[in-house]
Subunit: 346 residues, 2 copies
């Protein structure tokens, strides 16, 4: 059957700076295989995307190499407060790292994030990586300047209950949850293989996320590839690849009756479109085989990561074909779009 | 001149459990010397005050030994959620320790503090020790259950700006600041002598607190005595004595034109009365000598701490006499009230 093409509001393409982990060509090939025709890419590259120069450099690489459509986030830093607003119209949104993450963009001073919350245009997306009580603090901060806030990768029972309470009280918050926080617990992966931020939770956390599906606006992969060698090392960097496994995992959950296909498509399409103000693409769709049984494996995946936390998982549902702006970009295992076919979303 | 008798909403009397640091007789002697005739005592004693049994035990000690009037806080713990509300009417309020402090009462799980915020009667005082982003999270939590919140010992520029912003947006928050956070920076005391929670700030923090006097509802000593030997040790516990130095320090600031006498009396009297719903005491006042120059010294103080962070400070202004419910309880250096003269406030 045909479903609308998917959008992933949270991916790391690793280019510029760490193209041994991923680059725009490999990362967007993985996106197409996963049924995504639009991706919003995070700014913690090397150099990080924090100003006009770094934005244009990263954009140039994306324009040349992306196989699907894209937009880039701007990172909120300690020194770019005065220049973010003028770039807002060209970006996916502003990203604030308020807790420990991969890369140099963490903002420690609350007064600094308050300033960013105030300066960034209210009608442009603002996304925070904020865990636990930092998440609560970020919601307050957004309320104090009366602006919407999108919360990245909500991962715990405590967090989803907080987001629910905030929504019930009329705070302008939206949130996303990753497949790995919905399908894995901290018991499932050993050592560095399980390193990810936010950390994998307990079964109670996972259960709470599923129990509050109505509170979850988006599913986002937080596709954050590192190589198998890096993950096996003593200093395993946090992050999992996710673009090629997300849809099969969710279709399997549909097959098992844990949610409906509409629940999935809303959270991987319409809601993302609305929250991030992303126009629909003409002549773009995904053909899926809902009954296809297969086994997930890093073998044959297009990400450079070379591993997946879902290795060996039996799933129901596969992507057969992807049409992007009138062109078949993926069919029967073959990525047909060339690097450069992808366009900027804005 | 005569001023109204003062109230301190934040003291640690150390009894039961650590009477070598302070007890009700010594601590309330220090209170009277400082011009305070009412004190609200914190629950992190040993055992902590968390239920009817521990409250009644601590109250009994206070009834027997206090020289001034008092009320005891109940501590919010992991296991007393179901039983706090029934005790509310007999307590100063509910105290939540949300950040690192002295004693075992810290609450880590946000869901637990949210439950306490919801359960404790809205018309009874609720006080949080919450620093930095935890303070922001606590303000949000109070808003989510639509209840007032009093913030203990606000100490940094970031915190006072946040409280200001929250008040401006109509959040029901009040706050207190200690003399040590107004008169000392982290440069002023060395090693364990400077250990206190919240930590002493920078000059910029101190300047911001003074600049936002209008945001500060109460001055509270957070009188938290430890002995000089303990403070000199490698494992110095956090806390300063403060009851005998607060008023002279503030009168000196009045003398220097940094604030008015009315600013002081409002924050050490009327505002505390209003926030904590404490009735006025009949025939109670303090006679102060605004021009008296003297030097602060632990020698002759009534606290058992045996030291003060303000040792050697030259001040303007002294307490001459204290009248409590028609009886002279302090005059010319002599504490005249006996242990047991103090009454419960509720």
């Amino acid at each position: 059957m045909r479903i609308p093409a998917l959008i992933d509001p949270h991916v790391h393409m690793r280019e510029p700076g760490a193209t041994h982990k991923e680059d725009w060509a490999s990362g967007t090939a993985a996106a197409l295989v996963g049924g995504f025709t639009q991706v919003l890419a995070m700014p913690n590259t090397d150099p990080p995307v924090v100003d006009r120069v770094s934005l244009e450099k990263a954009e140039q690489l994306a324009v040349m190499n992306a196989r699907c459509d894209f937009s880039l986030y701007l990172g909120a830093g300690p020194n770019n407060l005065a220049r973010t607003a003028e770039l807002a119209g060209k970006t996916a949104g502003l990203k604030l790292y308020l807790d420990q993450t991969y890369g140099p963009l963490r903002l420690d001073a609350m007064s600094l994030w308050q300033a960013h919350f105030r300066t960034w245009p209210k009608d442009r997306p603002l996304v925070a990586h904020a865990e636990g009580r930092t998440l609560a603090a970020a919601i307050l901060m957004a309320a104090l300047v009366d602006r919407p806030l999108h919360l990245a990768h909500v991962a715990t029972r405590e967090e989803i209950l907080l987001v629910r309470a905030a929504k019930q009280r009329g705070f302008k918050v939206t949130c996303e949850v990753t497949p790995h926080h919905l399908f894995l617990t901290s018991e499932d992966l050993t050592g560095g293989w399980g390193e990810v931020r936010p950390r994998l939770g307990t079964q109670a956390d996972v259960d709470a996320l599923w129990a509050h599906l109505a509170v979850i606006d988006c599913f986002a992969t937080d596709h954050a590839p590192h190589t198998a060698a890096e993950k096996a090392s003593a200093e395993s960097p946090p992050g999992f690849p996710g673009l090629e496994t997300a849809l099969p995992l969710f279709l399997t959950a549909v097959h098992e009756g844990r949610l409906t296909l509409d629940d999935v498509l809303t959270r991987m399409g319409d809601n993302v479109r609305r929250i991030f103000n992303i126009p629909a693409q003409p002549e773009s769709w995904v053909k899926v085989d809902l009954d296809k049984k297969h086994t997930l494996s890093a073998q044959g995946m297009h990400t450079k990561a070379g591993w997946t936390p879902f290795e060996g998982w039996d799933v129901h549902g596969a992507v057969r074909e992807v049409m992007l702006r009138g062109k078949t970009v993926f069919r029967d295992g073959q990525v047909l779009a060339q690097p450069g076919y992808g366009q900027r979303i804005r």
